[in-house]
Amino acid sequence: MARAEVAVAQAGKGAPGGNGPRARKVVASPAAWLVWGAVTIFFIGLAGVVGSVVVNSFGTRWFDTWLPQGWTNDWYGQAWDEFTLLPVLGVTLTVCLLVTAVSVLVGVPASYVLARRSFPGRRAVYLMFLLPILMPPITYGIPLATVLYKYGLAGHLSGVVLANLVPSIPFVILTMTPFIEQIDPAVERAARMCGARTAQIFLRILAPLLIPGILAASILVVVRTVGMFELTFLTAGPDSQTLVVALFYSMSASGIRAQQSVDAMAVIYTLMMLILLVVALRFVNPTQLVARVKEDVE
């Protein structure tokens, strides 16, 4: 605890007059002020952006004043009815569940092979899985939507699910690889010596050990799918819109809807994402997604 306080003092305070035992404190302090100043400005801007939406979603009339003239929570009820939010949420949930289930079922075995084996063409396969993540969704979304329309899949739930699988499967593969690398291959070899077949090794040995990783990957896929605008936008029909797309339509068709009810819906969307993210953070440490290192650095 004492060490933690020293770290805060070094990072946060850094007053030039402080007669620190080391020269570093004095030299670093203007930079520290600058950095925390920039963070504060970012937070103030963020608070302003979020605050004005939240305030507007509860306000009655708000033109040229600091705050709205009155307060109401009618916009939420109105948003719920006007946007037929219940079916939209149903579609969002269905799409997320289907996308997550398929991408985990398909992605985990693939990431196992890529993490454990070396074979000719491995780099090419890896690149193939990397490309959908490195490309903006619109670039492959437009040809994909054209193909899906050709086969009559776009405009329905199936088209939306198929389109969202394109970035999700590679994402599961890349997220799962470090989890699989952490498992000692000796465990599998031991099971094989005892006569277990590949299917048994997968179901009885690897799956239980991989549950934390699978949970992490699926929650991240859900967060990404809820937020994935472009692919759903390009492939959805009127009855297969997810929440982001419905929101976009309601905002870009301005003048038809009251701005406050769009804001109310945006607040609902953000609350939903926030809950998902908090759940996700319980399973994954966001700073350890890339390099899995010990938390205790200092």
Binding site: V53, Y140, G227, V267, V297
Partner: protein
């Protein structure tokens, strides 16, 4: 009798090179990506080469001769490159300060992650409200007598740029923090023992070790910024200063129903984006790419 040993031998030879039944586990994922990513791409390529009129390349020709279309490439780069660069560069000092443990670190990280949940529409509505002519920012600045006229920050370049910073910065920050905490602090401590101040320690030890991670972060942030589509419409000026290439591609496909032109625009967009990434990753390969966790010494 002669066939069986030969087959076994082939199987063994393949297994020696790493090819055996287990690779079948790759098949479903490969099929999905081939059917949903590679086939559509090839289909789009074919489509872009079959315009309704003109020769094979006239969809591309049309794109590059029409200034209104061609300039979307520059517009996109003008928005995406500075936004991605700012997000990465600003993340480094903040992440550098947030290494190690201190009270409230988890809270601070969580607050920095929250913008990921905002979504484009809330960000757009918030920017329009907060930065608009009668928004809180302009009101504060006018009341403080810093400006006379409200600043125009929405429905132009700055609105889109700021929305990219709000959504992109937390993402870049998380990645940079993750790479940075992978660097063994004992390397810096060793330098400190030898009398190096913070500047040499940072610029000659941490930064070179961090550079490959920064390149990756830049690429991923750039992909996010490059595909700016909803915010360019909602907070930008979609027919003028923020008419990005994705808007051009979308309009070709869903407004003019010119699928050849749309595919051409989408492929040009992908090509431009991959060129930038290839340049960054090429520069990265010139840098040190070994372990960052320190040897046993």
């Amino acid at each position: 009798m002669t066939v069986v040993p030969a087959r076994v031998a082939l199987r063994h030879r393949l297994a020696d090179r790493g090819v055996d039944m287990q690779l079948l586990l790759l098949v479903p994922a490969t099929l999905f990506i081939a059917a949903l990513f590679i086939y559509p791409f090839c289909y789009g390529l074919g489509l872009s080469l079959q315009p309704a009129q003109g020769t094979v390349f006239s969809a591309y020709q049309q794109f590059f001769t029409d200034a209104y279309q061609r300039d979307t490439i520059l517009t996109t780069l003008r928005i995406a490159l500075p936004a991605a660069l700012l997000n990465v560069v600003a993340s480094v000092p903040i992440a550098y300060r947030m290494r190690g443990r201190f009270r409230g670190k988890r809270l601070l990280t969580t607050i920095l992650v929250v913008p990921i949940t905002l979504g484009t529409v809330l960000t757009a509505e918030g920017l329009l409200g907060f930065l608009g002519p009668t928004g809180w920012l302009n009101r504060t600045l006018i009341d403080a007598r810093l400006i006379d006229q409200p600043l125009t920050l929405t429905h132009n370049y700055w609105g889109v740029f700021l929305s990219l910073v709000i959504t992109g910065f937390p993402f870049a920050f998380l990645l940079v923090l993750s790479y940075l905490s992978g660097i063994d602090p004992s390397l810096e401590r060793a330098a400190a023992t030898l009398g190096a101040g913070w500047a040499p320690r940072f610029f000659r030890i941490t930064l070179p070790l961090l550079a490959p991670g920064l390149a990756t972060t830049f690429c991923l942030t750039f992909v996010l910024a490059f595909s700016v589509f909803p915010s360019a419409i909602l907070v930008g000026d979609p027919s003028g200063s923020t008419r990005v290439i994705s808007i051009a591609a979308y309009e070709a496909a869903y407004v003019r129903y010119d699928y050849a032109g749309a595919s051409a625009a989408a492929l040009i967009m992908g090509a431009v984006e991959l060129v930038v990434i290839a340049v960054v990753l090429g520069l990265r390969s010139l840098l040190y790419t070994g372990t960052t966790s320190g040897g046993k010494g």
